[in-house]
């Protein structure tokens, strides 16, 4: 039996951002999918505030999680119904706030029917990045204790990505933020970066630390940034 993940240990703290990077198929999604218990660990354990998550009711556990999947999934309905998906009685303010933080407001307001614009099955009538932002808004509207972003900035341009994360950091406050990403720029300022390689941890640290002592991470960085750019990030 081959496990997609082996021997993973780390702690993500409230108020901090923990990022995951690693090659395709290295187990990033598998790892974060363990948190809302889409699967349970085979060996070892995941604890939330000291309690094994397998002891917590799934519904109770998931209430605290704002999950943004790697492949944005929207349901047929309206923009509002999709943002409010995780909290039945979300007020208009909550919906608008979530739209604003997720950088969706601008394109929503540009649509003839605003928040009542219809969404086709799977979100086929919005652009890739818009779909992703709506699925981020859906998670924000829940005001969760734990945010899980599974490579969910990949369809955003650098600028929107940066602004979105800046706005997001204002509301995540004491929440625990987990971000899976492929772009170095997305995780540059994370408090802790976990480098995954073939299901194992290849290194943990901040960008600067990893640049100094982690070969895998250095390779990833140099595949994206020129030498000058890298210097700039270390300055």
């Amino acid at each position: 039996m081959m496990y997609p993940l082996n021997n993973i240990s780390f702690t993500a703290k409230p108020g901090e951002t923990t990022a995951f990077i690693g090659s395709t198929g290295s187990g990033k999604s598998t790892l974060v999918n363990l948190i809302p218990r889409f699967f349970d660990v085979t060996e070892g354990s995941i604890t939330l505030d000291g309690v094994d998550i397998r002891e917590v009711e799934k519904e109770e556990l998931r209430k605290n999680i704002g999950y943004v999947p790697q492949k944005a999934v929207l349901f047929s309905g309206t923009i509002a119904s999709n943002i409010a998906y995780g909290c039945e009685n979300a007020s208009e303010d909550t919906i608008e706030e979530a739209a604003e933080i997720s950088q969706s407001k601008e394109f929503i307001m540009a649509k003839p029917n605003k928040y009542q614009s219809s969404i086709a099955q799977g979100g086929a009538n919005v652009s890739g990045g818009q779909k992703q932002r709506l699925s981020i808004a859906r998670a924000i509207a829940r005001h969760p204790k734990i945010y899980v972003f599974d490579d969910s900035f990949s369809a955003l341009d650098f600028k929107t990505d940066a602004v979105l994360r800046k706005e997001l950091s204002k509301v995540t406050g004491n929440s625990t933020v987990l971000i899976v990403a492929q772009r170095i720029s997305t995780i540059l300022h994370a408090d802790k970066i976990v480098v995954l390689d073939e299901g194992k941890i290849a290194g943990i640290g901040t960008h600067k630390e990893l640049m100094k002592n982690n070969e895998v991470y250095r390779q990833i960085a140099s595949s994206q940034l020129s030498q000058a750019d890298i210097e700039a990030t270390l300055a």
Partner: protein, 602 residues
């Protein structure tokens, strides 16, 4: 209520229209149907004359006993034996005919279903993209599965029964007339009564048959959508709401099904009752006539048997009408979809060359386009691309990048301006031949349930295993495929969720490499692939796209750094163009976009 009344009137008209269409469609199988009719009629005729002949036997026995009582020769057993033998032959022939007729009819209805399914599938491919913006795929697919099934099954049974019933009624009427015109007229009194009852029920219940098929489609759509997004349903604790929503639709389905079945189920007992009334009337009048001696006992027996045979097909027609109603309701949905407006597939004035001979100079001239007329996405897009160039389109999300690709491939048509390849307007090629010019990897990966080998081979169906593997190697998918259980024979599940997102993209890239088309389109093709793997794929891609035009859309600017021409799109307009260095030096929007990646955010 006035609204409801109007609606039901509309439905009745639809019923006739759909029935007409259905009959016209069945008309395609004229010869088969004529054969079915001949055998059905034959089988029925023999069935109908049965009682008359049996009556002869009874008369023979009756006469024999009477003559024996008056000291005559007694029963003529030879005559009876002959009659019975004849009867036997008739019934056997009738059974054989019935068998042949059933065999033919099943063939016809199944062939028809096959053809309908094929037409529906082909139709889906010809539908404009925006058709699916307002409804779920599951609902549309339900027309191919549930509706066609219902249609086939009910048709198979109802057509034969209808022919048999009508023939039986005509045949029996004739037989009855030869026995006693008076009694026949009495029997006939029940006919208008039956017809009236029947049409009343059909009118009331047809609505529910339609609702039943429509809700079946809705249930299908809901299930399919929830299934595709079940992770999200779970993560957001929506299980209960989803179940409640499902229950609500399911309840409506139940109610309409219950009503349609109940109402049409009433038909049988009502018809039975009406038939029995006629039966009683005939028995009384027949008795009187026999006592008077104006009719033989045998004839009365035949006649009463005939009356039974007469009410039976009427009851059968009641049953048939139930099936026929389902069939019409299903047919209505099927034909409604087939009649939807579609994209025209063939070019009106075909360009002087075939699309496969194109070199790949692409020219956008003042293209203007909006999905809705009141919201224009591309205002005035122009670009001139030389064959062999690598073009990158960048810009903020929602700028219209994917839209340009959709226009180029004619999933949508421009409102104004034109797109030309080698100077020929793309409208002057047939849609399918035009699309074959493009190899594409789109933002939403599309894989199907099947092995990895099959999924890659989809790019070029006649590729050998070796070619598939070579393409996978070029896409850097080979390594991970070999580590999967089963390797190339690993079965992807329906959502292809048993491999990682990046791995999915690698497989679609392998597919495009295998397909080897003139113009390559990569819309965020590597957005989920790590940058180290991407670098390696890029080398393979560069070899592949050498000498052919390629369009690359990517937010990750490292992906497009070495493009010949970068078009910077903002709000549907090209605001800058040039190569990476030029644009950085220029210090405009592109440079800003590029530099924003290092911004401090926390």
């Amino acid at each position: 209520m006035a609204h409801g009344a109007m609606k039901s009137g509309e439905k009745a008209k639809n019923f006739k229209k759909s029935l007409g269409k259905l009959i016209a469609y069945i008309g395609n199988y004229k010869f088969g149907l004529i054969a079915v009719m001949v055998f059905a009629i034959g089988s029925t005729v023999f069935n109908v004359v049965g009682p008359k002949i049996l009556g002869n036997a009874t008369t023979e026995i009756f006469n024999g006993i009477m003559s024996k009582l008056s000291g005559g020769s007694g029963i003529n057993f030879d005559a009876i034996a002959r009659i019975i033998l004849l009867l036997l032959v008739l019934y056997v022939v009738s059974a054989v005919f019935q068998f042949i007729q059933g065999f033919l009819m099943t063939g016809i209805s199944q062939k028809m279903c096959f053809k309908l399914r094929k037409e529906l599938i082909e139709k889906i491919n010809r539908m404009p993209m925006n058709y699916f913006d307002t409804r779920t795929y599951g609902e549309v697919l339900s027309r191919i599965t549930n509706d066609v099934d219902t249609l086939g099954q009910s048709l198979n049974q109802s057509v034969t029964q209808l022919i048999t019933s009508v023939t039986t009624i005509i045949g029996i009427t004739y037989m009855m007339f030869t026995i006693s015109p008076l009694l026949t007229v009495i029997t006939f009194v029940i006919l208008p009564l039956s017809v009236f009852m029947m049409s009343f029920i059909v009118k009331k219940s047809q609505r529910f048959f339609r609702d039943q098929q429509a809700y079946l489609g809705k249930v299908n759509g809901q299930v399919e959508e929830i299934y595709a997004g079940h992770n999200i349903v779970q993560a957001f604790n929506r299980e209960e709401e989803v179940i409640a929503e499902f229950k609500a639709t399911n309840k409506k389905l139940y109610e309409s099904a219950w009503k349609s079945q109940y109402l049409s189920g009433l038909m049988q007992p009502i018809m039975g009752f009406v038939g029995n009334l006629g039966y009683v009337a005939v028995a009384i009048v027949g008795g009187i006539l026999a006592a008077k001696g104006t009719i033989t006992v045998g004839n009365i027996q035949s006649f009463i048997a005939n009356v039974k045979q007469f009410t039976q097909p009427i009851g059968q027609m009641a049953q048939v009408s139930n099936m026929l109603q389902s069939a019409v309701a299903a047919a209505e949905r099927v034909f409604e979809f087939l009649d939807e407006e579609e994209e025209e597939q063939k070019a009106e004035n075909h360009a002087p060359i075939k699309a496969c001979e194109l070199e790949g100079n692409v020219e956008f001239e003042h293209v203007r386009f909006g999905y809705n007329p009141d919201k224009i996405i591309l205002k005035d897009f122009s670009a001139d691309i030389k064959s062999g160039q690598k073009i990158a389109i960048v810009g903020p999300t929602g700028a219209g990048k994917t839209t340009i690709i959709k226009l180029l491939m004619r999933f949508y048509d421009v409102n104004d301006g034109s797109i030309k390849i080698d100077g020929h307007n793309i409208k002057d090629f047939d849609r399918s031949e035009l699309r074959e010019v493009f190899g594409m990897v789109l933002q939403d990966t599309w894989l199907f349930k099947g092995t990895i080998m099959e999924n890659i081979r989809y790019g070029r169906l006649d590729a050998t295993d070796e070619e598939v593997i070579a393409a996978a190697k070029a896409a850097h998918a080979h390594h991970f495929i070999m580590t999967l259980p089963g390797g190339y024979d690993m079965e992807l599940n329906e959502e292809a969720s048993n491999i990682s997102q990046g791995q999915k993209q690698l497989i679609t890239i392998a597919r495009a490499i295998l397909a080897d088309n003139r113009i390559m389109i990569l819309d965020e093709a590597t957005s989920s692939v790590d940058t180290r793997t991407e670098e390696r794929i890029q080398k393979a891609m560069d070899n592949l796209t050498k000498g052919r035009t390629s369009f690359v859309i990517a937010h990750r600017l490292s992906t497009i750094r070495d493009a010949d021409l970068i078009l910077v799109l903002k709000d549907g307009d090209v605001i800058e163009q040039g190569n990476h260095e030029e644009l950085l030096r220029k210090g405009g929007f592109y440079a800003e976009l590029y530099n924003s990646q290092f911004e401090q955010t926390a």
